[in-house]
């Protein structure tokens, strides 16, 4: 936080250069997050634009109790969810127990570029996509996800399970790594 304290103070004063500096520092990482929560480059840029506007308009509320990049990331995720909310329909699901599980090696994704992984995530149904991002990448619990998205915890779990199986199937189809198959 200390390394960005001066920058935050200038942004609170609406210093255009400080705002641009903040954008240059954090936009690449936040944009990658936007891309994971949206279906297209256009939508991702919309989310990034709206997120930064919200960040600049509420930066005086940043107390420094958490890291600046975590605070900004939360704003981005909330913005992405609020803008995409109407598209977050949920598919009816088979139960988790019915599925075949595939174990992946630690380097299973090493051969994939960011754009390829992004394409896989974007091919998920919108609700699954958001929940996958929140649980697997951001580290939210299903309970937190349920509160955030105003759904039931069980729905979060089942949608995540769906997302997980779909991604495993995509990676399996690519056949780029050795895997073990285990029936539960």
């Amino acid at each position: 936080m200390d390394e960005h304290k001066g920058l935050v103070e200038k942004c609170i004063k609406r210093d255009p250069k400080a705002q641009r500096r903040l954008y240059d520092l954090f936009a690449p990482k936040l944009y990658a997050i936007c891309q994971r929560y949206t279906k297209s480059t256009l939508e991702a840029e919309d989310v990034l634009q709206e997120s930064f506007i919200r960040i600049y308009e509420s930066i005086e509320k940043f107390r420094g109790e958490s890291r600046l990049d975590y605070w900004m990331k939360r704003i981005v995720i909330n913005t992405a969810l609020s803008l995409e909310r109407r598209k977050l329909y949920m598919f009816p699901m088979a139960t988790v127990e019915d599925a075949n599980e595939v174990h992946m090696a630690e380097d299973a994704l090493a051969a994939f570029r960011f754009e390829e992984l992004l394409a896989m995530i974007r091919s998920l149904p919108a609700g699954c996509q958001a929940i996958f991002n929140l649980f697997a990448i951001e580290g939210y619990s299903h309970q937190e996800i349920a509160e955030l998205m105003n759904i039931k915890e069980g729905t979060s779990k089942s949608q995540y399970a769906r997302a997980r199986r779909l991604l495993q199937a995509m990676i399996l189809k690519e056949n780029r790594h050795l895997y073990e198959r285990e029936k539960r």
């Binding site: 990658a32 991702a44 930064f52 109407r86 174990h103 994704l109 697997a136 990448i137 951001e138 619990s141």
Partner: protein, 456 residues
């Protein structure tokens, strides 16, 4: 955030490691749009300049009108200032030539004769007999409101160009030492010039100014969103078709478009024809092309069902897209909302000042024929759309404006005049159809520049 009870395993770790620190560069346009979003609601500096220019012009009009019109009455209409350095300048040329004039031909001589002065003979023979003339009689005092003819010696009045005698050098020196004096012979009998007969004029003009569409939700609706939602839900009173099956969006969750329009600018060009009738009355008409543009903020777009083309979603083009497009919400963005008209003004004017600089006050009516409304955005992936008059347009094909203006005309030569005309226009009836769910009563402040030719 991580909890063991959620059964995380290597799958989440693998994906987390692959994507948690991923970075990607957005396009440079994103920063530009962020800046625009931060400046939203602030008055654009250019608009401040325009408003200041308009205020300065109104002030100049008032000051100019006061200076030219009111103070004009206080001057004597002097045509020349001259200090006489030579007595001969005051001597009528006829006398210089040495010819004697008969009393019948020279009223001045008659007047002098009545005063006991012998005017026969030539200059050479005329003895210098200075006449005591009150200097004030020869001085046109600019503080006087009107020339007092009675103060001028009768001899001068009788023949303005002639003085019946020479003033002595001493007398002249005395006058000069006191003040300047003016040769005003022509103005003594100068009649006020008035226009007689009808004079026809024609000219070209261009104009630029400020345009405010003045859009409001229709009476009974709290906001544009409510009006918009009502349209999309099928409450379109002017249409018969209600094909809700093609309108695909979650009505309960739809983020309704936030729409607001700002004051924009306009320009126009065209021809003017007119006639000066009687003394101070004029009639003008013409034909003008008017282009008006405003910036509207919205937060949604239409995606055409067949072509997947995206266009900005405004209340004004909702009906045109009804049944053929899907509405989607988006972060707020700005669109250019421009209108094209053909305008036919008819105005009557009164000449306030009729000099080399003339001032005419106008009032009248302009009939505007709506040609086209174009909605465009520089947002990537959003195409522009145009709508003309017709059933699907919320705008009338024709509406009326009242107008007030003041025209300043500066004469160039005998027939040409430069014209500057600040003009205010306000709609007399709504630009939108009466059964539509928003209203628009535009008004303009335009500064016209023109070149006029009068057919004298």
């Amino acid at each position: 955030m991580k909890e063991k009870k959620d059964n995380r395993d290597a799958f989440e770790d693998i994906w987390g490691k692959a994507l948690q620190d991923a970075e990607s560069q957005p396009s440079p346009e994103v920063w530009y749009r962020i800046q625009k979003g931060l400046n939203r609601g602030k008055m654009h500096p250019w608009l401040i300049v325009k408003l200041m220019a308009a205020a300065s012009l109104v002030f100049a009009m008032g000051l100019g009108t006061y200076t030219l019109f009111i103070q004009q009455n206080e001057t004597s209409g002097v045509v020349a200032v001259s200090s006489i350095s030579d007595d001969r300048e005051l001597v009528p040329q006829e006398r210089l030539s040495g010819e004697a004039l008969s009393l019948e031909d020279n009223k001045a001589d008659r007047a002098l004769t009545e005063q006991g002065i012998d005017v026969t003979g030539t200059i050479k023979d005329l003895e210098i007999a200075p006449i005591e003339i009150d200097p004030k009689a020869f001085i046109a005092d600019t503080r006087e409101r009107e020339m007092r003819d009675s103060a001028v010696p009768d001899a001068v009045l009788a023949h303005p160009m002639h003085l019946p005698t020479r003033l002595s050098a001493a007398r002249l020196a005395e006058i000069e030492s006191r003040s300047e004096y003016f040769i005003v012979p022509e103005l003594i009998h100068k009649k006020k010039e008035t226009s007689t007969g009808t004079v026809f004029l024609a000219g070209l003009d261009i104009g630029t100014g400020v345009f405010n569409p003045n859009t409001q939700p229709a009476a009974g609706l709290a906001s544009f969103s409510e009006g918009y939602f009502a349209q999309l839900a099928g409450d379109v009173r002017s249409l018969d078709r209600l094909d809700m099956g093609l309108l695909n969006y979650a009505m309960a969750d739809a983020a309704l478009p936030r729409e607001e329009s700002r004051t924009g600018f306009s320009y126009s060009y065209g021809i003017n024809v007119g006639a000066h009738i009687k003394n101070r009355f004029v009639l003008h008409t013409g034909l003008q092309y008017v282009h008006a543009r405003t910036v509207t903020t919205t937060s949604g777009y239409f995606t055409q069902s067949e072509s997947a083309i995206r266009t900005p979603a405004l209340t004004s083009n909702a009906i045109a897209n009804f049944g053929s497009a899907r509405f989607e919400s988006s972060p707020s963005y700005e669109v250019d909302n421009s209108f094209d008209f053909i305008s036919v003004p008819i105005k009557a004017g009164y000449v306030l000042l009729d000099q080399k600089l003339s001032i005419i006050a106008f009032g009248g009516l302009a009939t505007d024929f709506f040609l086209n409304n174009r909605i465009s955005s520089d947002k990537p992936g959003i195409s522009s759309t145009s709508n003309g008059p017709g059933d699907l347009s919320p705008y009338r094909s024709m509406y009326f404006n009242g107008l007030l203006s003041t025209s300043f005309n500066y004469q160039l030569g005998a027939n040409y005049a430069l014209m500057i005309e600040p003009q205010y226009r306000r709609s007399l009836n709504s630009f939108t159809k009466s059964d539509h769910l928003f209203s628009s009563d535009p008004h303009f402040f335009i500064l016209n520049f023109g070149l006029m030719y009068n057919f004298k």
